[in-house]
Amino acid sequence: MRDAAALPDMSPRRPGARVAIGRLVNRSFRYWSLLPAVLLFAALTLYPLLNLARMSVSTITFANGAEVWTFTPLRNFAALASDDVLRPAVVNTLVFVVASVAVEMVLGVALAIAVAGLSRAKRWVRTVAILPILVPPVAIGSMWKLMYNYDFGIFNQALVALGAMPVNWLGSTSVALASVIAVDVWHWVPFVFLILFAAVEGIPPDLLEAAHVDGATRAQMLRHIVLPLLRPAIVVAFLFRAILAFKVFDEVFLLTAGGPGTSTELVNLHLYKVFFEQNRLGYGALLSLAVIAAIIAFLLVSRRIALAVRRNADS
């Protein structure tokens, strides 16, 4: 009898408060589990978005360290029309995205297929390929700033050694954008490679062996088996890169900061300058909203493309 009475004492000394809290935490878990994420997103993305709308129709000045907001709905739109940098920035961004993504896709897909045909080197290539993706983009910028240097960079050293004229990689208006695109290609070919390599490895070996037995050449296998099977992964990698290429900022900020002139000016660099160098918060907000709208439009279109491709692949 005594033992049975002692049983409740097995529980912690003062069960009351802690058990009650534990029960509360458990019972309401389904309601509060999503709450931190929702609150964080509301405070740091939704509220700023609303604030952007409010800022975009205002002029904000700083007087004695305090903000002074004035309602000037048309002023920022007028600034949009008279912004001489905006047009080159948009054009450069489109050139940058299209050129860098196109080259990255070709080189990345080719690398994935070539590496899949190797036996021992596979793991090595995969390990090394992670490195450009993980190191700070700012470090990549400073790496290439050293290599592109007019006086002592490796490229000009090589050119001079070959008897050619040195090139002003980052300082000439005709070359600078291409130099910046080359850095982005170097940075992101490994990413396309990693996605495509996983897809190549997922191709059932029987398919290739059957084709081999039937006397198919490597080129035939590539065209009729491998590439068709890779198509969904290629589309995914393409969409990822196309959207993320718009986010580029760090390397270009370090390499050229948009110069010389506006020859490497990109939308993101322009946004930074409008906000933090020219201190035009109202106009910057209007530009930000335009960029967000453009990204959402692109997302909706690309979703359609992805769905259409999937439907084609299934049928």
Binding site: N26, R27, F29, S33, L34, P36, A37, F41, L44, Y47, P48, L49, L52, E67, L107, L111, I113, A114, V115, G117, S119, A129, I130, L131, I133, L134, V135, P136, P137, V138, A139, G141, S142, M143, K145, L146, M147, D151, I154, Q157, W186, V189, I195, A198, E201, G202, I203, P205, L208, E209, A211, R218, M221, A233, V236, A237, L254, L271, Y272, S288
Partner: protein, 279 residues
């Protein structure tokens, strides 16, 4: 591809040369900046090779009286570690909640769609309002401001990654635990989290690296005392006279976490980077 498929699909000479060139192209720039970081500035400017290696750039950057780099490293470590811990907690709770509980579609789909949109939008578009808000709150130029913003930018990746791991858990396990008297929160903590551990490690590694690497937010929300490593490197590169040698040394130091994680966490990183893409 298995070994047998590799033999039927063996790379030709062109493929081998291409892979070798690609490896050289990836590694070359790292070697270049590594050698530059061990050169006296004069040896860099004279493009000397061979050269006498020196540690003076590292000494200048880390211990020089005019350099804050040691403090920048401390800031980066604190911000990256705290934001990673927080994003794992918030992200795991959210991902599990979306998987386990029946939320109305407008909540679950709306939340996931919004995280995706936010992940795609350049962070530069939100820096203006963030700057204004953190100034008003008195959080401008604090590590706290960097930590919450880094949690926010890493949350979409964390939620999407962990979702795929939670979805692998058979609901029967969790239901059986609850029948045995295990509350919903205890089931999450004691059963779901341990099963999803590989996902937590992958998300944690990526969140740490992205926070350590993050540049535009740190550039605009910090000043001298709270600046992080990327901001410091940009200062070396942006000064009136670029300090190439110190920039090289600081850049090499900044790649250390990536190099360590490349060897230790390769399995997790590759799955983390490609999971969302392939599935």
């Amino acid at each position: 591809m298995t070994a047998s498929a590799t033999t039927t699909f063996r790379a030709g000479a062109v493929g081998r040369v291409y892979v070798a060139l690609a490896l050289f192209a990836i590694v070359g720039p790292f070697v270049w900046i590594l050698t530059a970081s061990f050169k006296h500035p004069i040896a860099i400017y004279a493009a000397q090779f061979p050269f006498t290696p020196t540690l003076s750039n590292y000494a200048d950057v880390l211990f020089g009286r005019r350099s804050d780099f040691a403090g920048n490293i401390a800031n980066s470590l604190v911000v990256a570690a705290s934001s990673t811990a927080l994003v794992l907690i918030v992200g795991a709770l959210a991902a599990y909640s979306l998987y386990r509980f029946r939320w109305p579609t407008c909540v679950s789909a709306g939340f996931l769609a919004w995280t995706l949109v936010f992940h795609m939008v350049p962070v530069l578009t939100l820096l203006g309002p963030w700057y204004v808000a953190f100034r008003e709150l008195g959080l401008y130029d604090t590590r706290a401001a960097l930590i919450v913003t880094h949690v926010t930018i890493n949350l979409p990746m964390t939620v999407w990654l962990l979702r795929t791991f939670f979805r692998e858990i058979p609901p029967e396990i969790l239901e059986a635990a609850q029948v045995d008297g295990c509350g919903p929160f205890d089931a999450f903590r004691r059963i779901a989290l341990p099963i999803a551990l590989p996902g937590l490690i992958a998300a944690g590694i990526l969140a740490f690296v992205f926070s350590w690497n993050e540049f535009p937010i740190a550039l605009t929300l910090t000043s001298r005392t709270t600046a992080t490593v990327p901001v410091a490197i940009a200062r070396f590169a942006q000064q009136y006279e670029i300090q190439h040698a110190q920039m090289a040394a600081a850049s090499v130091i900044s790649t250390i976490p990536a190099v360590i994680l490349m060897f230790l966490g390769q399995r997790f990183i590759v799955s983390g980077l490609t999971l969302g893409a392939v599935k």
